[in-house]
């Protein structure tokens, strides 16, 4: 076999192996998206009921709470960025990081100091590489977040909000995550989580025009709100984590699908080149044989005479 043909054959073998791997990763990601979507759906009733309850307390009483009152001058904000632990997901992480950086720049332009909190190894690596300060970070659960993980993330954030700004607390909390719209569409979005605007929440939950009943609070409206708001924040963070996980798997699936398609195309091109090389080799051999026999025939014809 000719040298060139051998090189092509070797490359085809290696691309075929890569294609098998990316194909497997695509299938795994596809099954994980479905699982993650199911988890998002399973967490919805809790989030809905909680939103209703928050609305009920917010509209049914004139209670003031540090988590719902807007500070007069905001000097420090916290930004929570949700990324994934692993890459191979196309532009998933870079989109989220870009959105966070845009938000940070905007907040800083407004004269606010920004504390960054990050979930996911990719985001942490990005900030560490640029030697930017990370206030707190969590890794290791982004593929399948549990409610306990959301609690772990929410605890220091709620603590920071409740602290006075002078003592290192923050005045507002923004969250940047990737919203799962469909298998094909995922958007990096930012939202202000705290201070909570009760009017907005009310609009969300009573869109159907229902009128909330006058609740009897047990033990008191303040205590209920005190207990309710941290749970509400946790549930919002949990939801964002779940959507982020679903989006990551969908992005991985898409990236791996295009990798598999590209590998297939490359194999096609390489096999054509290999065929051409083989054909050229055969042609050359034939012309060598023909040339050789013609030379031999000439030589014997000459010696006869």
């Amino acid at each position: 076999m000719g040298a060139q043909l051998r090189v092509y054959k070797r490359r085809i073998r290696s691309v075929t192996a890569t294609k098998k791997i990316t194909k497997a990763m695509e299938m795994i990601a596809a099954s994980r998206v479905v699982k993650a979507q199911r988890k998002v759906a399973a967490s919805t009733p809790y989030a809905q009921e909680l939103t209703r309850a928050v609305t009920a307390v917010g509209t049914g009483s004139n209670t003031k709470h540090p988590l719902t009152t807007q500070a007069e001058t905001v000097t420090r904000s916290a930004v929570l960025l949700l990324t994934s632990d692993r890459g191979l997901a196309g532009a998933f992480n870079s989109n989220a990081i870009k959105a966070a950086e845009k938000l940070t720049a905007r907040l800083e332009a407004e004269g606010k100091q920004v504390d960054v909190y990050i979930v996911g190894r990719r985001g942490v690596a990005h900030y560490n590489f640029r030697e930017r300060k990370i206030t707190d970070q969590w890794t290791g659960f982004t593929d399948e977040p549990a409610y306990g993980d959301a609690k772990k993330v929410a605890a220091p954030l709620i603590e920071a909000i409740e602290q006075e700004t002078a003592d290192g607390g923050v005045d507002e909390l923004h969250i940047v995550y990737t919203e799962f719209v469909s298998m094909m569409t995922q958007n990096a979005v930012e939202a202000r989580l705290l201070p909570l605007s009760l009017d907005e929440v009310a609009q969300e939950s009573t869109a159907k025009g229902e009128i909330l009943p006058l609740y009897d609070f047990e033990p008191s409206a303040e205590d209920v709100l005190d207990a309710l708001l941290p749970r509400y924040v946790e549930s919002r963070i949990y939801n964002a984590l779940l959507q982020s996980a679903a989006s990551k798997h969908a992005a991985t699936r898409r990236a791996m699908k295009s990798a598999t398609d590209n590998a297939g195309e490359l194999i096609n091109t390489l096999s054509r080149l290999a065929n051409a090389a083989r054909q050229a080799e055969i042609t050359q051999e034939i012309s060598e044989i023909v040339g050789g026999s013609a030379a031999l025939a000439d030589a014997t014809a000459g010696s006869d005479k």
Partner: protein, 124 residues
């Protein structure tokens, strides 16, 4: 036909139980409270403890609820909890081992959780 109320018990990551009931007894921070159909709208904070639901077909459902809220309006009652387990789902031997371990380690919150689970099973 006796009046009924619709109960939905939801944990953070799933719906634990839902159905029709005639009476729900839960423990709020200011004491046990029983809700029957036609109760005034209520929103309360729950303590860790067993919740007893008397279903409309005469059966009883007991669940261990670890913190959360109870809300009742328009004949719909929702029990929200970060963690909620039906007593049928609780593995007694496992919980007893947990309780012993928690006592040995002096982990009071784990001890309380295990205690609530055992009480829920006992109330079945």
């Amino acid at each position: 036909m006796a009046a009924e109320l619709h109960v939905a018990m939801v944990a953070a990551d799933r719906e634990v139980w839902s159905g029709e009931a005639t009476l729900v007894v839960a423990r709020t921070t200011s004491g046990d409270i029983g809700v029957m159909p036609g109760h005034q709208p209520l929103l309360g904070v729950l303590e860790s403890g067993p919740v007893t639901i008397r279903t409309s077909d005469g059966g009883t459902v007991v669940a261990a609820v670890h913190g959360g809220f109870i809300s009742y309006a328009d004949n719909k009652l929702s029990l929200l909890a970060e963690i909620a387990e039906l007593s049928d789902e609780i593995d007694v031997q496992h919980v007893e081992r947990e309780l012993e371990r928690a006592k040995a380690e002096g982990d009071t919150s784990a001890e309380r959780r295990a205690d609530v689970r055992l009480r829920a099973v006992g109330a079945r």
